[in-house]
Amino acid sequence: MVVRLRGCAADERARISDQRVSATSICALPTPIPVEFASSLQQSDPVIHIANLTRRFGAKTALNSVSVSMPRGAVYGLVGANGAGKTTLIKHVMGLLKAEGGSVRVFGLDPVADPVGVLSRIGYLSEENDLPGWMTVNDLIRYSRAFYPRWDDTYAEELRNAFALDSAAKIKNLSKGQKARAGLLVALAYRPELLVLDEPSSGLDPIVRRDILGAVIRTIADEGRTVLFSSHLLDEVEEVADHVTMLRHGTIVLSAPLADIKAAHSGLSLDEIFISTARA
């Protein structure tokens, strides 16, 4: 897998560029401890399979016959303007919205019919950080680990130290960036098979954004894990995504491996491709 890391120092980039990325390669985050990865899926099965998904909110069609298949081990970038349907698509993947038309399968399961089977294998972080404000960071870790049998205490503690989170601090007293880091900690500490990031970097400083990118890389560093990453910051998507899907008015206008997209657009950046596609 080729991962681009424009944000890192030159020597670091040189070390890790064009090779399978390890978590130590970025941002001085702790080394991931390899764990046994037990997946019920076959290597060839898609982690997410969406077929003809349609969703309306009143008169507005948020998603119009969207079909996507995301293979295991890929970093999938989801881009599009505000209101394009990115969050609606992700909510269907999480089972928070019920498909009005078409079908959604995650790990081969229906996320609405089997929320426990799906949610216990997904790590999720969104821009709207809705962690309970009354909890301390320690409470959050204690509470979250009860839900995930594969929770790794050592890894969680390493992340907490790397993110400089005070375990006694209340979530409501944390800054926006610290809240994002706390959310990231509980999304990563059980080494989810699928990491879903819904506009995680919006409004955050470059240091926290770097941590989030680091999380993406750490996740795929473990064999066979998958990332679904929606973002407005196209340079970030460009740095880590293998495959990009572009949504416009609830319809997929572009979906292909990033390398193919760039080849087809004669070396334009994703920003430029996005603008030209949006104007088309």
Partner: protein
């Protein structure tokens, strides 16, 4: 005046309510004149059914106005920070305008409310001459002080609520004392009018501090104790883990909502029990009346605590927990049981403490001894135990019976159910009043009682059956769990029926009546619908 218009937009809801009330009053006047007729007078002291139709919407509107004009409907009342919306601080307005205009609107709305009520009472011919000026001032002073106290930042969390309750109680006590002493209207005005400018100055000071971001920190008051307990907690936290996801969820529910009812009880019941310490309140009827009020408080307060317990559970955070909907709801139900027991433990401690400290325990013991001589000691103990169990069960029932509405996460359903409840109350009150007053109507109702009860039982069983079928079809519950639930419900009904038969074994009370009361009182359909409501909210 631009500032006045800008801030007036914040209170559009109040204008809608005032308009709706005006329409309601006109409708009331027309219906009373054309349909009910002059044979049904409005009695205000004590209020009859017709007066209730007038008083209930007024009371609700008054509480709504306090909520909307203090910005209490959209803020965290217990927070240390001012509840005044921060977005308004960026408007190009002075602190005087920010405090003054909402206060003026609030005072005007509350006074108008009284003006409308008094006018309608006069037009339709109430039995009591309703005064105009001082109650309008009283309404204005009440809302002005509520605004001043809610907009002020505090150094301790929760202090705002305590001060607001004390202020409301103080204003009420002064006014009711003045009413009982038949104080002249001019004295009322002299008492109440100066409170408006004082409240305004306090509000302006609070808004100014909040605008500057000043929040006092009085945590040093508790620091020493907190540091000590913090050390203990940290050392305990290292080893404390949850044995299961369900246990973690129960902890979450307790921490989020479990303490609401005990906190309300701790706030209200001691104030009620203070009546025992008033010299002269040492006769058995007064002592038992005070204790009875304290005992009725938890079920009453549970009605107010219930919406808070259900509302936030429909959040996306909860929906993303990798736990079955049934388990998430079960954790909530378990929390309600603990919350009920904690509240009742407090009530019993408070009552025993107040009786001992006030020296009124002897009165209670003497009356219980007399009672046991008449009925027998065993029966007396059983009566007390059954009464307590009934009150505890009633408290829990009030906590859970509307849970399915809150768990649906649909704002329209939550507001609609409140409105429907209000309308049902308004519709039923005159009917109940008529039944209580009119012997002829009582006879008709008594004769029709078997049919009425049969219809209610049938409706409940159909609703319960429908919910069970949907639960099974949606695979939220398997057949074994459904059978276990039905058996538990049946056991509770039979137990209640047995207790009722034991207590009310009289030829005057037919057994079917006791059976129907037992069936109708044990929660079934609405509690069973809670997982369905949560599932509906979880996968929209």
């Amino acid at each position: 005046m631009r500032s006045a218009r800008a801030l007036a937009r914040e209170f559009v809801g109040a204008r809608v309510v005032l308009l709706a009330l005006a329409v309601y009053m006109v409708a009331f006047y027309v219906i009373r004149g054309l349909i009910v007729g002059p044979g049904h007078p409005i009695r205000l002291a004590p209020p009859n059914g017709l007066a209730a139709v007038l008083v209930v919407p007024m009371t609700f509107a008054g509480f709504y106005f306090i909520g909307i004009f203090t910005f209490g409907l959209s803020g965290d009342l217990a927070a240390r920070e001012s509840i005044y919306p921060r977005r308004l601080f960026t408007l190009p307005l002075t602190n005087a305008a920010l405090a003054g205009w909402p206060m003026l609107y609030g005072c005007a709305a509350m006074s108008s409310l009284w003006f409308v009520a008094a006018a309608v009472a006069r037009i339709v011919g109430a039995d009591v001459a309703v005064p105009w000026i001082w109650p309008m001032l009283f309404c204005a002073a009440t809302i002005a002080w509520m605004q001043a106290l809610t907009w002020m930042p505090y150094g301790v969390r929760g202090l705002r609520v305590v001060l607001a309750v004390i202020a409301l109680a103080a204003i009420d006590m002064v006014v009711f004392a003045a009413v009982n002493l038949h104080v002249a209207n001019a004295t009322f005005v002299a008492l109440l009018a100066p409170q408006l400018p004082i409240a305004y100055l306090v509000a302006r000071y609070g808004v100014a501090r909040a605008r500057r971001g000043e929040v006092p920190d009085w945590s040093w008051l508790f620091r020493q104790g907190r540091e000590r307990s913090g050390e203990r907690t940290r050392s305990a936290d290292v080893s404390r883990t949850f044995t299961s996801a369900f246990q973690a969820q129960c902890w979450f529910e307790w921490q989020s909502h479990g303490r609401t009812l005990p906190a309300l009880v701790a706030l209200v019941v001691p104030v009620e029990l203070l009546l025992l310490f008033i010299p002269g309140n040492d006769t058995a009827p007064i002592v038992f009346e005070v204790v009875f009020i304290a005992l009725l408080s938890p079920p009453f307060l549970a009605v107010f605590a219930a919406p808070h317990m259900a509302a936030s559970s429909a959040s996306p955070y909860m929906a993303r927990r990798p736990l079955a909907s049934m388990d998430l709801v079960a954790a909530k139900l378990k929390m309600t049981v603990w919350s009920t027991l904690a509240a009742w433990a407090l009530v019993i401690i408070f009552i025993c403490g107040a009786l001992l400290l006030s020296g009124r325990m002897a009165v209670v013991v003497e009356r219980l001894r007399t009672g046991s001589e008449v009925t027998g000691t065993l029966r007396m103990i059983a009566v007390v135990v059954v009464l307590l169990v009934a009150l505890v069960a009633s408290t829990w029932k009030h906590l859970v019976q509307s849970m399915c509405v809150g768990l649906s996460g649909r704002d329209w359903l939550i507001k609609g159910s409140v409105l429907a409840g209000l309308i049902a109350l308004l519709a039923l009150w005159p009917f109940i009043d008529e039944v209580l007053r009119n012997m002829k109507v009582q006879g008709v109702v008594w004769n029709a009682l078997p049919w009425i009860l049969a219809a209610m039982v049938l409706m409940k069983m159909i609703a319960g059956g429908c919910v069970a079928i949907i639960l099974y079809d949606s695979r939220l519950l398997n057949d074994r769990a459904l059978v276990a639930g039905a058996a538990a419900w049946l056991f509770a009904v039979v137990a209640m029926y047995g207790v009722l038969v034991w207590f009310a074994d009289s030829p005057a009370i037919p057994r079917y009546l006791l059976g129907a009361v037992a069936i109708l009182n044990v929660p079934l359909a609405r509690v069973s619908a809670a997982p369905l409501a949560f599932e509906w909210s979880r996968h929209r």
